[in-house]
Amino acid sequence: MRMRERDQQGTAAIVGTFLVAAWLTVLPLPETVEFGRPLWLALALIYWVIALPHRIGVLWGFAVGLFQDVLTGVVLGQHAVALAVVAYVSLAAHKRIRVFPPLQQSVVVFMLTGTGALIAYTVQSAVGRVLVPPVWVLLPALVSALIWRPTFGVLRWVRRRFMVR
């Protein structure tokens, strides 16, 4: 019983980081940097999956994605499916990603967020709402990879500070 309680520690901190990521997702930015807005929710999700694979998995990915769908007003399920796939892949590879050197880790993050972005893009084009060429879709993934290390540092600090495990 005691073990169980300790297992559930820090859910509030996890939800808190996701809320901050959501806030960053809709924060108004100048139009010139709008195209390069990092995929904050995907970044946070990847971190938590790698750090706590026994707690955060595909279901969390789906729920966070659903939340992002409503937040950005797109067809329900678009980001849900994308982030569920991202969570699944990072879950499958979390042991390897953990021991990668920083540069290689960033490359993996680029591929993961890029996959998520492309899935979302595919859904959008199926729904018939696409105006930008697919190259633009990968730019946010690239920016996400570049800021992966600082994000990782901040989230690790949060995890240690609130003793999430």
């Binding site: 806030w23 809709v26 924060l27 709008e34 409503v70 937040l71 007003g73 329900l76 499916v81």
Partner: protein, 263 residues
Amino acid sequence: MIGAALMLLDQRSDHVQPLRFAIGYVTAPIHYLAHMPTAIGEWASSQAVSRADLQADRQRLERQILVLQQRVQRLAVLEAENVRLRELLNSSAELDARVLAAEIIGVEPDPSRQEFVINKGTHAGVYRGQAVLDAGGLLGQVVDAGPFTARVLLITDASHALSVQVNRNGVRAILAGSGQPDRLRLLFVPETADIIEGDLLVSTGLDQRFPRGYPVAEVVRLRHDPGAPFVTVEARPTASIDRASHVLLVERPVRRQQEGAEQ
């Protein structure tokens, strides 16, 4: 699998609307928070206005009120006359629609979509399909009404179109968005249509969504292409699409259906 089912349901029907609505309770505070830096900036700059500026502002506004009041006086007479004429013609009269003021608190982060978020939701009486205007003219319509926020699709979005007519002579056409904030296109205009540059386009109300007779756009360019079946007509929205910060929501016009018809 669930995701695919959800997407289909959302695209084809309204069954998942309650789910969207419920999550809206959590997303609303985030939109409000995201608006905060802008709001604080506006507040700070409004606190720092000088006395002379305020006085100048006040004088300008007083002059403006005077001019507008003079126009309203004429409008009252015209409106009464219009109602009388409509009664003579046995057609339905339109009543003044109720309006609700709202503030824009978020702009769609995806640059390929022309949408914004306002700070009023179903708790304030906003509903899906409601028309949104600013001081210049029609802005768009509500596509998703959450509890405390609502999402507005602009007339300039590439997926948006509405029915308009030329104010000068009543020629009707369909006005579609282009995805750019200052460009609209008139669709399927025949070579012989009487449309010239500078024509004001007003809403017709035929689309059963927008109220009738609000200015929408002004024709800026016509291009006659000998090979094409239709004229290319470009228009510029009269509403300040990318500068508006306060908007008005108009309730569906109440019509007195053919009251004189039975007599």
